[in-house]
């Protein structure tokens, strides 16, 4: 770990902890996040974690850039990884089917694996939530097996149904709400990923782990899933 603090805006500093995306980053990121929140207290406006960085947005009326840098330095001195695994483990039911996951065939062709095997491999792994972004509750998870990795679509879809589960490079994610999107879609989850009535709003938080569980069409519908085909939503 090579810690750097960079200027990003008048009232924002970027804490850069790593240069590569890795699952091993996470205990350090969580520890740094916790310490920064404690150090800034009420003067913290937002803390935006991503794969290798934490952006600190602080109250400019309370802190000068120099004071903010001091707080960061104090918060991160003697940093030790948070291995208490405070994160939750989620199991997301997924109806894997070409009608809602049109890129299942593409991934099968690319990998040379049968569609069933693509599904098995995607759901046979525990993923880490690296960051939330793009949309409320949209969790960037990884890493998917190399053989399933696929670049984003050349032309993003104008509309991707809520609950759609996709793959982009070695990351996987589920769309919380209908939105445009360029990920390779392989199925759909009935889980409500963002709920303004829920404590903490987002089902998944950075540091959580997620496993996908293949369910039948009937189970998907029973769990409240919406099977509207993609084309009907476009």
């Amino acid at each position: 770990m090579k810690l750097r603090v960079e200027v990003v805006a008048l009232d924002c500093l970027m804490v850069r902890l790593f240069d590569e995306i890795a699952e091993a980053n996470m205990p350090w990121m969580l520890a740094a996040s916790e310490n920064l929140r404690a150090a800034f207290g009420a003067h913290l406006i937002d803390l935006v974690p991503s794969y290798t960085t934490l952006m600190v947005h602080y109250d400019l009326a309370a802190l000068s850039p120099a004071q903010a840098r001091e707080l960061i330095a104090e918060a991160l001195i003697d940093l030790s990884p948070n291995t208490r695994t405070g994160g939750k483990c989620h199991v997301l039911p997924v109806w894997y089917d070409v009608s809602v996951g049109p890129e299942l065939r593409l991934l099968s062709q690319r990998s040379g694996l049968a569609v069933e095997e693509v599904i098995r491999r995607h759901s046979d792994r525990e993923y880490q939530v690296f960051a939330l972004g793009f949309a409320p509750g949209f969790a960037f998870m990884g890493l998917v097996e190399e053989v399933l990795a696929a670049p984003r679509l050349n032309t993003p879809r104008k509309k991707v149904a809520a609950g759609s589960v996709g793959i982009a490079e070695r990351q996987t994610a589920a769309y919380p709400v209908v939105s445009p999107g360029g990920w390779n879609l392989i199925g759909r989850t009935p889980a409500k990923l963002f709920d303004r009535e829920r404590d903490g709003y987002s089902l998944m938080q950075p540091g959580d782990t997620v496993r996908f569980e293949a369910v039948s069409y009937a189970e998907f519908i029973n769990l409240g899933g919406d099977d509207t085909p993609l084309e009907a939503q476009a």
Binding site: V8, L10, T52, T53, H57, A61, G133, V177
Partner: protein, 308 residues
Amino acid sequence: MSRLSIEASTPLCLLQDAGRFGVRHLGVTQGGGLDWRSMSWANWLLGNALDAAVIEITLGGFTVVAEGDCLLALAGADLGAQLDGQALAPWRSFKLRKGQRLQFTQPLLGARAYLAAPGGFDAPKVLGSSATVVREELGGLDGMGRALAKGASLSYSAEAPLLMRELPREQIPDFKSDLPLDVVLGAQIGEFSGQSLFDAFNSAWTLDSRADRMGIRLLGTALQYQGKPMISEGIPLGAVQVPPDGQPIVLLNDRQTIGGYPRLGALTPLALARLAQCLPGATVRLRPVVQDVAHREQVEYLRRFSDR
């Protein structure tokens, strides 16, 4: 409980406040009035908290009729506002009597006007704010992120102040100013070619019509980033990001929370306030500024609002 009924509106007329904070780590954008300075003055004119909910009217096309006597305040762009056909200049509080009509016609100076009401317009707070973010279905009158629509009713609950107020002339922002926009330089600044750095701060940039509450594209000499591809990271308000086509985009209140394009830096809040009042086709220049200097300037500006 004075009320206004909306007779005409557009998708660019939105309920806004200072924005949504403490939720960016969940992927929720900031939102809020694009010209925070004019929005704050609109609230100041009524003695409100500076972040009380206001109406952001972009370009015009908005009309309300009073269902009871109201005291309101107007700040920001001159959108040809008319009170029962009589021109109404911004930067003042004013009375709107029962049955009177307030109409915003077309932009005469600036792009965004802010209409404030005593204590702020009534609206539910969603994730701590009433700011309307259409894309995220958050905020606004019903909390579902919808723009203000014809037929809807606006209300406020606080007592109106007794005195009408006008902003002292020396405090009125100059929307015609051609001073460059200040950019706090970011960490990737050294990864742009020397020529690009020269171009960035020595040429004129034209505001593209491809502009919305997420960002405004600047057209001009393409800038060349020579660094490594970046891993997505948090994006500050006002970030000047440079995608592969070299045409910078200034990211605004409704931007995505993380992204992976290199950045020249970020506009200061005062520069953002000015940019928010520019129309497509306008030209702007950029000027680098040191973080400390920009910070002092901002703190000094904020003191102006404490004079109540």
